[in-house]
């Protein structure tokens, strides 16, 4: 079962494209960050690409408030070579670096634990380790002016210590490419 809003975010520890590792604590563990945004994303999906800059802007705008963002690519790279770890590294390099680490979920265990549906699929983990938001960044991938408003509102609520008013929206994007 997918973790529900208010339940503990599944723990993970994954490698990034720069040789680092990043983790989320899981079961009852407090997070170091004021909030952690976990974004299931990929290289080849037009929805993920359309929302990409908006999500990076959120990471930049909330970094000094203690929010960290982790982008995770879980797609099967055998059938979708554009989502291989090498292709991920090349994308970050070609972009001149990202303000968020880009993590590889090679065995797809993290995407399965979160029951990620699409790329993108966005989760906000509160400081107590509970999932506070899950869904799309905003209402329309085609409207950059929306600025990932749903995600920003969820972060504002978490940072203010309030329950997230709109805690769940429908994720929209390409299906996660599961291994056969």
């Amino acid at each position: 079962m997918s973790p529900a809003i208010g339940e503990a975010a599944p723990a993970f520890d994954l490698p990034d494209t720069d040789g680092g590792r990043h983790s989320v604590g899981g079961d009852g563990a407090r997070q170091d960050a004021a909030a952690t945004v976990v974004v299931c994303t990929c290289n080849h999906c037009p929805y993920a690409l359309a929302w990409h800059e908006r999500l990076l802007d959120v990471a930049r705008d909330y970094a000094d408030r203690g929010v960290r963002m982790l982008a995770i690519n879980p797609n099967d790279a055998e059938r979708y070579p554009r989502d291989s770890f090498d292709a991920m590294r090349e994308r970050v390099r070609a972009d001149g670096g990202w303000p968020v680490p880009y993590l590889r979920d090679e065995d797809q265990s993290v995407a399965r634990a979160y029951e990620a549906k699409t790329t993108p699929d966005v989760f906000v983990v509160a400081p107590d380790g509970a999932i506070a938001y899950r869904g799309a960044p905003d209402a329309d991938h085609g409207e950059p002016d929306l600025r990932a408003a749903w995600l920003r509102a969820a972060l504002d609520d978490v940072l203010a210590g309030r329950p997230v008013e709109r805690a769940e929206t429908k994720p929209v994007g390409c299906s996660v490419k599961w291994r056969a």
Binding site: H44, P46, L49, A50, Y80, G142, S175
Partner: protein
Amino acid sequence: MTQPRVELLFWDGCPSHPQALADLRAAMADAGLDPDTVLVREVDTDQRADRERFIGSPTVRIDGEDVEPPGDDEPVGLTCRVYHRRDGRVSPVPDPAVLREALETAMTRSTP
């Protein structure tokens, strides 16, 4: 004038085809063509993708020509296609202006 053959190929793992179909039908209506004549075909296996030279969903072909012809090295497969709007935005569907222009070109070609 001969009505061009308008096809929409889609893969159900990508949610963009209803929008693409709506845009295509609107463009056909604007061009004076019957929107109900669009041929909608699902590509649901790798084998079918190979056979159709299907590089992703949605793919729109008019008289057999892709409205945004892919590069020769574009791999076939069950995936979502990345398009770009005229203003540079990434989009999961072709720009409606591209659809209209492709239809106009096909209609001009078929006019004796």
